[in-house]
Symmetry: C2
Subunit: 201 residues, 2 copies
């Protein structure tokens, strides 16, 4: 059985954006496969008593993050623009992503959502925006929304979030390799290297 | 005027340990100089409503940190052992460091304190331990303690901590290059590269 990197991402998470843009290339270069797993940080934050992002709760940390993510994206040659609203509600986008990740367009959709939010400054909580992103990918939105709003997909997203919590995940992006947890875009290479070594062992 | 990296470290901080062990070598390889600046995170945490380390307040984050710092140290070929008590009170050690960083033994003392805490499992709040570390470096402890306990050094440590807060520092280690702040051992290379480029510009 090949060793995967389980890639847990949250659409509202700034650092999940560069991770999503580069993880497949980084993993492919090491012969490692990736399983993309959208989840929600909101319930996890709530369980620690936070009603919003720690970047809003702790202003110094927030100021730093916005500068840091801009530098990180510059270094990776990724466009980045700070959106007006943060954090955005990524619930619908996450449900659509869950519905799509079994299809050929799933990862492109995830990357498009991050681009809409962190490059184009659009509201990813707006169903019209999500419909537009799907249409751009040549996907007819209506049946996707029907699936995304189904009880099955809603339950799967809840289960993924509970699984993340069970795995000790407290932020995004997070990478799980076997029993090892790696947190943050800057741990991506380490997670992939761990997967490669585990597979070789 | 050469561009420095201002290296803000806190003795209780786990990630400050690998940073202290390697910063001079990383900086020297880029022709960058470093100013070592001990400060206290306690007052900064208190200002955000935290009475102890966030690694204790948020257990998932804490569990992750202990695993992550062990992996980080392994990758850097640094010994590491989780101490029984965390966080330790580094007030006295920070005062001694401030007194010593103008002397030839200052940086060796800082590294020795981290080794005592994160390798040897000793209590750095214990004046006997600090005296022993000084003696190992060939430094007579008594006059150093007299200086460390002086009003001048106490006031300087308070001023350094206030300066850190003014610079937007919220964790350790932090690196300041001009007006740029970098947080975390994993931002060390980026901070040094920033200093090198600023100097060349």
């Amino acid at each position: 059985m090949p060793t995967n990197v389980e890639f847990f991402f949250e659409f509202a998470s700034t650092y999940s954006y560069p991770a999503a843009m580069r993880i497949d290339a980084v993993a492919a270069a090491s012969g490692v496969t990736v399983r993309w797993r959208p989840f929600l940080l909101g319930p996890i934050f709530k369980a620690q008593g936070w009603e919003t992002s720690p970047f809003n709760l702790y202003p110094d940390k927030g100021r730093y993050m916005w500068r840091d993510i801009a530098r990180v994206c510059t270094a990776l040659d990724l466009p980045f623009r700070r959106p007006d609203a943060f954090p955005q509600n990524g619930l619908m986008a996450a449900r659509v992503a869950l519905a799509g990740l079994g299809e050929s367009w799933g990862k492109d959709f995830v990357r498009a959502v991050y681009g809409a939010q962190f490059v184009e400054g659009r509201s990813i909580a707006d169903q019209g925006v999500i419909a537009d992103l799907l249409a751009r990918l040549g996907v007819t939105p209506e049946p996707v929304f029907a699936q995304a709003h189904s009880d099955a997909v809603k339950a799967r997203l809840r289960a993924e979030t509970e699984e993340a919590q069970r795995l000790g995940i407290f932020g995004a992006p997070s990478f799980v390799v076997g029993r090892e947890l790696f947190w943050g875009n800057d741990r991506l290479e380490q997670a992939v290297a761990w997967a490669r070594q585990s597979h070789a062992a």
